[in-house]
């Protein structure tokens, strides 16, 4: 059944990470990215690796979900690793053949970079796995609302994102309906050359656009009727509140930051 479409990759379960305030999760994800780029050696990096592992365990999201999100990144990890191995010439030479020289320094760096990318992907996946998309847009809106000073309407952007999330399943259903209707009139979407197939999409795309515009038009009426007049003077039913757990998490991340700085200082930098 097509109405089982779920947008984003939210993994439904109950865990301390799921319960955290979306704003804090967003802040911590950004903080995490900053800290991981501060790491200069394996000692500091291992702190962040540990932090990632603990967060994942706490989230109760199964490991296979994270492997799934890593899959598309594997080529990038491999390419950077190979480039690092061949280009970095530091430390002891392990192998020298024709123009290729592999050094311990190159191997270390390649490994370091790979772990760093993996941690980055895991952390951002963790955010999307544990936070409903609408809450995420909400969090972005609330965190960026000070930008109002610069006349940037964060509210409008967030509203557009929410409406997009709301209507994507509806439009996917619509595509399915129209496709079936045109198939019933003998439309052929499966055979022919690439250009034929693109042309075959026209009988689906035109009705889809017509319908999307009609929906947008009617929706704007409905929103006006429900007193929508932009973000000014708007309140929210769901208040976001930081809990003790949120501050605890922040504390842990700040401690990790301190740890990374200290470890960077005491041990030689790898990169």
């Amino acid at each position: 059944m097509l109405n089982d479409i779920t947008i984003g990759q939210y993994y439904k379960t109950d865990s301390p990470v799921h319960r955290m305030d979306a704003r804090m999760k967003l802040i911590l994800t950004v903080l995490f990215i900053v800290i991981i780029f501060l790491c200069k050696n394996f000692f500091s990096l291992s702190v962040m690796f540990l932090l990632t592992a603990v967060s994942i365990l706490l989230s109760k999201v199964p490991f296979r979900m994270f492997f799934k999100s890593l899959k598309p990144i594997v080529p990038i990890i491999l390419i950077t690793a190979v480039l690092n191995i061949f280009y970095i010439k530091k430390g002891m030479t392990l192998l020298s053949f024709w123009v290729i020289t592999i050094t311990t320094g190159g191997l270390y760096t390649a490994f370091f970079m790979a772990v760093r990318i993996i941690c980055l992907i895991m952390a951002s996946s963790l955010l999307t796995y544990t936070t409903v998309p609408t809450l995420l847009t909400d969090a972005i809106e609330r965190l960026l609302s000070p930008l109002k000073v610069f006349h940037i309407s964060v509210h409008t952007l967030a509203m557009m994102m929410t409406l997009a999330l709301r209507f994507i399943p509806t439009l996917i259903e619509e595509i399915d309906r129209i496709t079936n209707a045109q198939k019933a009139r003998g439309a052929d979407f499966e055979s022919g050359k690439f250009l034929d197939r693109v042309r075959a999409m026209i009988p689906v795309l035109i009705p889809l656009f017509v319908s999307a515009f009609r929906r947008a038009y009617e929706l704007s009426f409905a929103m006006t009727c429900r007193c929508y007049h932009g973000g000014d003077g708007r309140t929210r039913m769901k208040q976001m509140k930081f809990s003790a757990a949120d501050f605890l998490a922040l504390g842990v991340f700040l401690a990790a930051l301190a740890g990374v700085i200290v470890l960077n200082y005491f041990f030689t930098a790898l990169i």
Binding site: M1, A181, A184, A187, I202, I206, P207
Partner: protein, 292 residues
Amino acid sequence: MTNHPILTTEDLTYIYQKGSKNEVPAIQDVSIDIMQGELVGIIGHTGSGKSTLIEHFNALKKGTSGRVLLDGADIWADRSKIRSVRFHVGVCFQYPEYQLFEETVAKDIAFGPKNMGLQQDEIDRRVSDALSFVGLSDAYKEKSPFDLSGGEKRRVAIAGIMAMEPQVLVLDEPCAGLDPRGRETVLRMIADYRAKTGCTVLLVSHSMEDVAAIADRILVMNQSRVAFFDTVERVFSHAEELQNMGLDIPQMTHLLLLLREKGIDVPVNLYTVSQVHAMLQSRLKGGNVNAE
């Protein structure tokens, strides 16, 4: 109507998400014979499986088990001929006006015939014929379908299916959302089409009055199974079971049943106001009633 089955299903079953934990049966063990030239009304409330059943008739869905036979031949016997099945069983889905896409009415109606690979003069003939079936003049040919009224759009979309000259025409709630005048026009149009072409017509409807007025037989779907498939008279004789399924019965049938309850011997196989009126007229004239 003949005794030659044009469309047959044998133990047709379709299960959503087969093999997963949340299997949902959409239709189960549906075995029916639709005869050449008959008009079958299909009723049942939303989720009863009627829409899924229709999608099997023109091979948009393939049964999890069971077969669909068109004129005696399994429609899935040769996968390369699936498209031709769709030309023989023309299905017009709910709110078909949302599938219109061409610049002109004529081009839109010609979409099906063109996909069939017909010659241009044959396509032109069919477009004209189809337009006249839905009661629109040739003046509509060059109009943009998007400039028409809701009811006219609906008729153009139905014409697009009729132009394929299918052996079986399936209409899924062709009157949904139309006003009474529009509903009446579309219903009359369907009855005329069938009278002129002798085609088999399947009509899905929520209106018991409409179905009773024009169908030969009625297929009642309930909880993914066939509840009844019989003549109008016999189906509506199960008034109580129908009501238990959450379905209505025609208002006139309801009236006659109430009269019977009050001990008045009236036939109950009448469904329209004029039928009941004629019956009562003859009863009252017959003098077996103490009219004043």
